[in-house]
């Protein structure tokens, strides 16, 4: 937040401050209750062994060591990373293509935009069940199911996410494309640039801010994915490890954390909370990287 001169608000400032409790009170109280306290308690509990919060015993970093040694957690990390990158590329390429064609002044653009955006409003759980019905409807003809093979689960979730997110990213790209100065395109045309030259040399450099936003947005969306993952495959199928533990092969990070918290082993809550902190650092890191990157670009321009 940029700070104005200390006198900002001037004569207005003091009378408002008498009502601070009314204006700030409700949000501060709810925010402390719904975010600050659970967050701090979560950090503390990640350093404890506990079944219920009352019995928490401080044990230092053991939970973090256990989390990194947990094969299912590491698997879900790489699986999530792969998923996030593949979905990032597909969603953005397709969304940009659609946005590009929809801004060429073709007939029916508004209707098409409406349709492409629509799946974005349907909740993750419902989306998961719609697509699990569709995939199983196809796969049942080959006597298999989306729950039986990792690659079906992976590509199934990719298709689902493309269907949901393309419309969303498309909206951001359309806004970016419409902001490209008409004179620049005109100048390129007069200079005899071909369509593809104009696209790559004029249009794309001009929509770089939108591309940055969409890239980070789809990356964090991919990392944080939970509802769709739970409803489509719930992590199935699984393989049994030599040591008797099992790895759910299509389980992503958020679902892995959830299953560690609320699964069979009630003694693993501390490990689950440590995993959650690691997950938070990862997602927050992506957010900060985005911020740093956009700041840098703004300075350059």
């Amino acid at each position: 937040m940029k700070r104005k001169k200390p006198s900002s608000g001037g004569g207005l400032r003091r009378p408002i401050q008498r009502w601070g409790w009314l204006f700030l009170g409700p949000v501060t109280a709810a925010f402390a209750l719904g975010f600050v306290w659970p967050f701090l308690q979560g950090i503390y509990l990640s350093l404890c062994k506990f079944r219920i919060i009352k019995d928490a015993q401080f044990i230092g970093l053991d939970n973090y060591i256990a989390a990194f040694q947990d094969a299912s957690f590491m698997h879900s990390f790489w699986y999530t990373a792969l998923f996030a990158v593949v979905s990032l590329v597909l969603i953005n390429v397709l969304a940009f293509t659609v946005a590009y064609f929809l801004t060429q002044g073709i007939r029916g653009s508004n209707l098409y935009r409406t349709v492409f955006f629509m799946p974005n409003l349907i909740g993750g759980i419902v989306l998961g069940y719609i697509w699990s019905m569709i995939f199983d409807g196809i796969l049942s003809h080959y006597n298999t199911s989306i729950l039986l093979e990792t690659k079906y689960g992976f590509w199934g979730l990719i298709i689902l996410m493309c269907w949901q997110q393309i419309g969303y990213m498309m909206i951001i790209y359309i806004a970016g494309l419409q902001a490209v100065p008409e004179e620049m395109l005109e100048a390129a045309r007069i200079d005899g640039a071909s369509k593809s030259q104009t696209l790559f040399k004029v249009t794309i450099p001009n929509v770089m801010p939108s591309i940055t936003i969409c890239t980070f947005l789809s990356l964090t969306n991919g990392f944080k994915l939970f509802d769709q993952n739970l409803a489509l495959t719930a992590g199935q199928p699984f393989v049994i490890q030599p040591d008797g533990s099992s790895i759910k092969t299509t389980e992503m990070l958020a679902l892995n954390i959830y299953n560690t918290f609320y699964g069979q082993n009630s003694a693993s809550k501390g490990v689950a909370q440590a995993k959650a902190v690691i997950f938070f650092v990862l997602v927050a890191g992506l957010g900060l990287a985005q911020l740093a990157y956009t700041r840098k670009r703004e300075v350059q321009q």
Binding site: T28, L121, I213, I257
Partner: protein, 313 residues
């Protein structure tokens, strides 16, 4: 002559493009159409004949809908009521209180205000899994601990009778959960409102103050109406979030008593061995019809709101 050919060619390309995109659009709505088809199909055929019309022996009429409404011994209308109630009250709370706080933060700009603001921005990058366990436990213990009997006992007063069991802050019921949403969802809303308030010239409020308006009147009759565009954007984002949210209410509410629509659908599909797919599809159809109507009615606002949230968040 050449110019004319070029124009004709361009028009032809545009027509082809339009047709191709039209076909993709049709493919795009197929999943929803499949839901419609299967909600009228007998359960046994959903898996084997997913993509055929529900004709002849497959036709189930409205039995799936009737079955779905009472599925799992939980009346569907209750989930509809809870989902609607939680969404409306949470969104109203968030809009009212975060806009008030944002105005105060933007105008007073004290150390405390800046701390709150940065905490809010920070909360936007924290994934729900980080706080889900502790948040649900906090909501639970406050919900069960804030009964009149308990609070009175703290003051050394004994209260008995049914009034003693009434919770003052029932965070673990649909009536209190909007407070949890206000807390966890404050970040984005505060961020968007503060950004907007800073663009409002101070002179308007100063004029109101000179005319004798106190802060409360200044806020409600001068500032509040000016916040309309951001209110709509934030409101749309919150409605979409709360209506579709699954994990937070699932962890906070007692799901034997209170189920929102996503919880209900997940519960039916996730916890039984054999699932009546036809009835599930009927429920899914019922749950997306209001969303689609809402979308078609305020499409412009929704698209604008979502884009605003993306660019800023």
């Amino acid at each position: 002559m050449k110019e004319k050919n070029g124009l004709a060619a361009e028009r032809r390309t545009k027509t082809i493009l339009s047709v191709v995109l039209g076909i993709i659009c049709v493919i795009y709505v197929l999943p929803v159409l499949t839901v419609v088809l299967n909600s009228f199909k007998l359960n046994t055929f959903v898996k084997t004949d997913t993509f055929s019309l529900p004709t002849g022996e497959m036709w189930a009429g409205f039995t799936n809908f009737i079955k779905g409404m009472t599925f799992g011994n939980y009346p569907f209308w209750k989930s509809v009521f809870y989902s609607t109630f939680i969404t409306i009250v949470s969104t109203a709370l968030i809009l009212l209180f975060t806009s008030m706080a944002a105005w105060y933060i933007a105008r007073v700009d004290s150390k405390f205000c800046r701390t709150i603001y940065y905490l809010c921005v920070f909360s936007m990058v924290v994934p729900f899994q980080m706080v889900m366990y502790t948040l649900s436990k906090t909501a639970d213990s406050i919900g069960t601990g804030s009964t009149i009997g308990n609070l009175a006992a703290m003051l050394g007063i004994r209260v008995t009778g049914p009034a003693a069991d009434v919770a003052l802050l029932p965070l673990n019921t649909p009536y209190g959960i909007p407070i949890v949403y206000l807390g966890f969802g404050a970040g984005l809303a505060i961020f968007m409102f503060v950004g907007f308030v800073k663009s409002i010239p101070l002179e308007i409020e100063e004029a109101a103050a000179i005319d004798g308006c106190g802060p409360i009147r200044t806020y409600f009759s001068v500032v509040f109406p000016m916040l309309r565009p951001t209110m709509i954007s934030v409101g749309i984002l919150e409605i979409m979030w709360v209506w579709n949210d699954y994990l937070l209410p699932y962890l906070v509410l007692d799901i034997n008593e209170y189920r929102t629509i996503p919880i209900h659908i997940q519960y039916l599909k996730g916890s039984y061995g054999t699932v009546d797919l036809g009835a599930t599809m009927a429920l899914i159809l019922l749950s997306i019809i209001p969303v689609i109507i809402f979308y078609l009615l305020c499409q412009k606002h929704i698209i604008k709101g979502v884009a605003a949230g993306a660019v800023k968040g």
